[in-house]
């Protein structure tokens, strides 16, 4: 039965349709894999009973020929998505034992299309982190290790549980969210495919808010095709999120295998950083060659404000977080630490409930929004954001269809290795991904090769607004050239 976990989602979909196996068999195989992989700490809540009930229901529907696009496919859900009657914590102590009475729009669409929930996945607390080390449930192990080493590495973050579970074949795909790189960086660290769609493509309703002008949901998957299948179900207009866009959702899967001949691919010179590892530079060049061989045209482009994206992000995102996280007050839900006055109740609850990284960001956000500093920090950062977006607009106006960059400045690193002394060291992980959130654009990370130590590395493609299809076509070209990468099981 173990080989039921090694297929792609697309292959499993065919097996279910052909009645080669049932969803219950497929689900049980993944539940077993999940139980055996507890050392990875990818799941923070396992829901086997619900999974089997959903699988039986899917089997009945498939039997009647009424199965939806994801009928019977077992998925993992990042713990940032509210799931009705299933504990949702954002991996923060402050949400405690919060059990939503409602379902997020994105997950409700997955269930509408027949998918099966295996459980909730670990992430950095409130999605603030690049290594999954800030979770109140502890760090997640990356299924990948350096060749000849027993050191456990981080899977990236914040969607570390999602990436680890997909790479370790514990679920056929996972939901994730991306505010500064939280889908694409963990995908790159684990040789999985992750896409952050255009801002407004997926509803944010029912997803625990971090920075509302940057947050977007998207899938982490085993292949580019799988990511396309999942995004089609996740995307779509939702009246409950006023920033969700009312334009039709295309059949993303139709873009897989489509010719990229004649497409103009921008190579931004500002992404060639001083001290960039030679392996990453080489991989980037290799990716460009693959696209060229498929008929695309390479052009050097300039995105002059690139270096300012990360500092501007570390003003805008904490500012929005400080506002969004004001709701955790010990009164309406979650943790409550008593105090003599209501002020003390708030202060004690928030001191006890927020971890160090969240506290740091809420405080810096509070500071940049405070009287006397608002113009110097917040307004200036929002102006820089306008310039970052304009860089991309100018580039697309020259006829560029998509931009190719490395996904991360390094491969996965060890638990506890980064950010101990200076938080900025950890923030630099998102240097190639954060520009995309600041400009609201779609970005996909696809596995493209390995470094000298045998760790996966990814490439990123950045697209025009709402042109995820081009990213899927180009991502498929890289996937076909690079092949798929599977870790050797050690857990």
């Amino acid at each position: 039965m173990t080989d039921l976990t090694s297929m792609t989602l697309a292959e499993a979909r065919k097996g279910l349709a052909d009645k080669t196996f049932t969803s219950l068999e497929l689900t049980d195989a993944h539940l077993k894999a999940m139980e055996e992989a507890r050392a990875l700490n990818a799941f923070v809540m396992e829901t086997p009973d619900q999974a089997r009930a959903m699988a039986r229901e899917a089997d009945a529907k498939i039997g009647k020929g009424e199965g939806g696009p994801l009928a019977g496919i077992p998925l993992g859900i990042k713990d940032l998505f509210a799931t009705k009657d299933v504990r949702t914590t954002a991996c923060s102590k402050i949400l405690g034992n919060f059990v939503p009475t409602y379902e997020s729009t994105v997950t409700s669409q997955l269930w509408r299309d027949g998918a099966v929930m295996l459980g909730k996945l670990n992430n950095d607390e409130f999605a603030m982190g690049s290594s999954n080390e800030t979770s109140c449930f502890g760090p997640v192990g990356n299924p990948w290790r350096r060749e000849g080493s027993n050191t456990t590495l981080v899977p990236g973050g914040s969607s570390g549980g999602s990436a680890s579970a997909v790479a370790a074949l514990l679920c056929m795909g996972a939901t994730a969210t991306d505010t500064g790189g939280s889908i694409r960086q963990p995908a790159a660290f684990t040789a999985t495919v992750g896409i952050k769609p255009t801002y407004g493509r997926c509803s944010r309703w029912g997803i625990v808010a971090f920075a509302s002008s940057l947050d977007q949901a998207g899938p982490i998957a085993r292949s580019t095709r799988d990511a396309a299948i999942l995004l089609r179900s996740m995307a779509g207009h939702d009246p409950k999120d006023t920033t969700s866009v009312d334009i039709p959702v295309p059949d993303y899967e139709a873009a897989i295998g489509k010719s990229v001949k004649g497409m103009k691919i921008g190579i931004p010179k500002e992404y060639r950083l001083d001290g960039m590892p030679a392996e990453i530079e080489k991989l980037w060049g290799q990716g460009a060659e693959w696209l060229k061989a498929a008929g695309a045209e390479l052009v050097e482009v300039s995105l002059p404000h690139t270096k300012y994206a990360l500092p501007a992000y570390y003003i805008v995102a904490p500012a929005e977080a400080s506002s969004n996280l004001a709701r955790y007050d010990g009164v309406r839900y979650g943790l409550r630490v008593p105090g003599k006055s209501i002020g003390e109740l708030y202060e004690n609850t928030r001191a006890e409930g927020f971890g160090a990284e969240v506290r740091r960001r809420v405080m810096i956000g509070t500071y940049v929004l405070s009287a006397g500093y608002y113009d110097a920090y917040y307004i200036r950062a929002q102006k820089v954001r306008t310039l970052i977006k304009k860089d991309f607009e100018d580039c697309f106006a020259q006829g560029v269809n998509a931009i190719l960059t490395p996904a991360t400045p390094s491969a996965a690193f060890g638990i506890g290795e980064k950010g101990g002394a200076d938080p900025v060291e950890m923030y630099l992980n998102d240097i190639f991904t954060v520009t995309v959130n600041m400009a609201g654009l779609p970005g996909i990370a696809v596995p493209a090769g390995k470094d000298a130590q045998g760790l996966p590395l990814g490439l990123q493609l950045i697209g025009r607004p709402f042109d995820e299809e081009t990213l899927f076509s180009l991502g498929e070209v890289i996937e076909q050239a690079a092949g798929r990468f599977t870790p050797v099981r050690w857990w």
Binding site: N97, S322, R336, E347, A351, Q382, P465
Partner: protein, 95 residues
């Protein structure tokens, strides 16, 4: 710009997060590391640039001002740490 210990305490109070005296020096160091990092934004010429308010060009959607939800008081208080008759309980605010 950098923050001193008094400013760290003031920010913590504005953010409604209790901070002990022992935590202040460490927090001050971290906040100043972040402020030093974002300092490079001051070299960008933002003369005449509009601050971003919406990342995609969109008009805010409006809906009819009608009740669309309700009668779910039990749901609303379900996760509250302390309630009484569907009210949230807080320490005495008015003597």
């Amino acid at each position: 710009m950098s923050v001193d210990a008094a400013t760290v305490r003031r920010i913590a109070q504005l953010a409604r997060i209790a901070v002990t005296d022992a935590e202040v020096p460490h927090l001050q160091g971290e906040l100043n590391a972040m402020l030093a990092f974002v300092e490079q934004l001051s070299e960008v010429n933002v003369e005449g640039v509009e601050p971003m308010t919406s990342v995609t060009p969109m008009a805010m959607k409006k809906r009819q001002d009608v009740v669309t939800d309700g009668d779910i008081a039990d749901d609303i208080v379900k996760n509250a740490p302390m309630t009484e008759n569907n009210f949230f309980l807080v320490p005495k605010v008015v003597e």
